[in-house]
């Protein structure tokens, strides 16, 4: 089974709020000092799903695609070290500041250029903009079914069975291939690349495709052509007015907390 996995490099989503800063004039996040960008946490899960499905269906190829800055090569390398076969980096100056919708268009063109695929896997959302729209976009643009927020995926090579996570439980669905499936954290821990695999991955090829290679028109890329123009970006204010409950022992603190809550009519 041939599988394409989309991975995105993003600022570390575990960056403490205190280190998170925004350049309001440029409407951009200022990279936090000493905190390296990471692979979007759901994307190694999508890669893990791809590797398991490839094994379960008796072979094929797993191709990793990432659109981003040159550093996004690291996100691709991570997936290659996990066991993916080939990588493609979509890189172009005109990709700076594009939105999730333009990204979906570029990715769909790259997927068409890769050619044969049975399944496309992505994360449920990227933890920078927290949109969760690219998987649906790929489905619409490529004219294939989409299944979102998967906890488990199996395939016989002609269809996929997916367990979806819902607000209030789970839903199991089946879709004909080719299809797009987005993977959620409930899928479980992805494998961690071993040193030997990291070294092997260094030898795997990563092709680089530009906007022109993808046949993207001048009106399809570039920040001015965003589908969802960004008008402002800022950090919301949070005030701290905490009252630390006093007490010599945990029991005394609990006693004092109960009194405070009662006085405030909260219990």
């Amino acid at each position: 089974m041939n599988i394409i996995v989309c991975v995105k490099q993003i600022p570390d989503p575990e960056t403490p709020a205190a280190s998170f800063k925004v350049d309001e004039a440029a409407k951009k996040v200022i990279p936090a000092q000493g905190i390296a960008p990471v692979v979007n946490p759901f994307d190694p899960q999508a890669t893990e799903a791809a590797l398991r499905l490839k094994d379960a269906t008796g072979g094929g190829k797993v191709t990793v695609i990432s659109l981003g800055a040159d550093s996004a090569r690291d996100a691709i390398k991570h997936a290659l070290a996990m066991g993916a076969d080939e990588g493609v980096l979509l890189s172009d100056p005109s990709f700076d500041g594009i939105d999730n919708f333009q990204t979906a268009v570029a990715l769909s063109k790259a997927i068409e250029k890769v050619g044969e695929y049975d399944l496309i896997l992505a994360g449920r959302s990227a933890a920078d903009w927290d949109m969760g729209v690219v998987p649906a976009g790929l489905g619409q643009l490529l004219g294939i079914p989409v299944v979102t927020i998967a906890k488990a995926i199996e395939s016989d090579g002609s269809s996929v069975k997916v367990e979806r996570v819902l607000d209030d439980g789970f839903q199991s669905v089946e879709a004909p291939l080719p299809a797009v499936v987005s993977v959620s954290n409930e899928f479980g821990e992805p494998r961690y690349p071993q040193l030997r695999q990291i070294m092997l991955a260094a030898k795997k090829t990563v092709q680089v495709w530009s906007a022109a290679d993808l046949g993207l028109g001048a009106d399809e890329t570039g920040e001015p052509n965003r589908w969802l123009p960004l008008e402002a970006l800022y950090v919301p204010k949070v005030e701290s007015n905490v009252e630390i409950i006093e007490g010599d022992t945990p029991e005394e603190k609990a006693h004092n907390l109960a009194l405070k809550l009662r006085a405030a009519k909260l219990i």
């Binding site: 925004v22 939105d99 979102t148 839903q171 954290n185 008008e231 950090v235």
Partner: protein
């Protein structure tokens, strides 16, 4: 004529509360010049009538059985038909399982964008301007749309529903638009909900990774029971299999805004805060005085929960 289309949602008992919040949001936009409010629900005319009572000018009962799947793909034809018949240029839905699936599908089908997880909406220069949460809740982004159709999903509890008024009138129609999706539903398993629903509970007690032990949730449930609330969990706790994902609070879980939120051994990562920052009063029980949850809380006990929680349970029993 421009207008707003609201996608209301059914739930087991009738209509999901987020539906009424969406209508309130739409009413506000309408007062700013965005036109009439039409609400669609996969349900009966009686349910459509309730949407009128909550503030919609017109309501559509969408009766196609495919909508029961809750899949975005199944909803698309019904929503497209409603956009056409109502002339709406704004579509609002909840940031729910349905909205997360339908919003992006609807947007791409119309070659337009969707703003996900909006917390505020306004009309500026005759067009929608949405404020949404990004970077795990660390940032706010304000966005507009390039294409004519403007689609947004709205975070639960961002708007206060209007009181139902059965004297309100409006037109109710039915639509059987819908299509059998290419994706087939094989089965559904609902999370067992015992007691108060997390989203509706006036008191929520949540536990995190710092509990160190799944059995500690038993202690939290005892506290929850005394306070007639619901028990929640951080994602770290859910990922460890300590508590069901349906009880997860946060960006990728539930949004709650109880009168009292007690966070036990939860650090207060922005993605957790994204689901509970709207709580009226936050209490942190954490052994780390520098934890973000302590900073944002009203009252904090800085100590080991293993001693504090059992003592708190006894104190509350004593107070009666």
């Amino acid at each position: 004529m421009p207008g707003i289309l609201v996608i209301a949602e059914p739930n087991e008992g009738g209509i999901a509360p987020v539906s009424f919040e969406l209508i309130a949001a739409a009413r506000q936009l309408s007062s700013e010049g965005a036109g009439n409010v039409t609400a669609l629900i996969a349900g009966s005319e009686a349910e459509a009538q309730q949407l009128i009572a909550h503030g919609a000018d017109a309501a559509i009962a969408a009766t196609n059985p495919a909508l029961k799947t809750g899949l975005g793909e199944a909803y698309l034809p019904a929503v497209q038909a409603a956009i056409e018949s109502s002339g709406a240029d704004i579509v609002l839905m909840g940031q729910t399982s349905l909205g997360r699936d339908l919003g992006p599908a609807l947007a791409f089908a119309n070659k337009t964008a969707v703003a996900m997880d909006c917390v505020a909406l306004a009309i500026a220069g005759g067009r929608l301007r949405a404020t949404r949460s990004a970077y795990g809740g660390n940032a706010r982004a304000e966005v507009t749309w390039k294409a004519p159709l403007q689609v947004a999903t709205v975070k639960a509890k961002s708007f206060d529903a209007l009181e139902a008024d059965s004297a309100r009138s409006g037109s109710v129609s039915t639509s059987d638009a819908g299509a059998d999706p290419k994706v087939k539903v094989l089965g559904v398993s609902k999370a067992e909900s015992t007691g108060v629903r997390l989203e509706d509970a006036p008191v929520v007690v949540s536990g995190g990774r710092g509990l160190g032990d799944p059995s500690a949730f038993g202690m939290l449930e005892e506290l929850t029971g005394l306070l007639h609330g619901a028990t929640g969990a951080s994602r770290a706790a859910c990922d460890l299999g300590w508590y069901p994902p349906s009880q997860q609070v946060g960006l990728t879980g539930k949004t709650v805004s109880p009168d009292l939120y007690i966070a036990v051994a939860i650090s207060g990562a922005s993605q957790h805060m994204a689901g509970m920052a709207g709580s009226k009063n936050i209490v942190a029980i954490n052994k780390d005085a520098d934890a973000n949850m302590v900073k944002v809380s009203k009252f904090a006990v800085v100590d080991d929960y293993k001693k504090v929680v059992p003592a708190l349970i006894e104190e509350i029993k004593k107070l009666g």
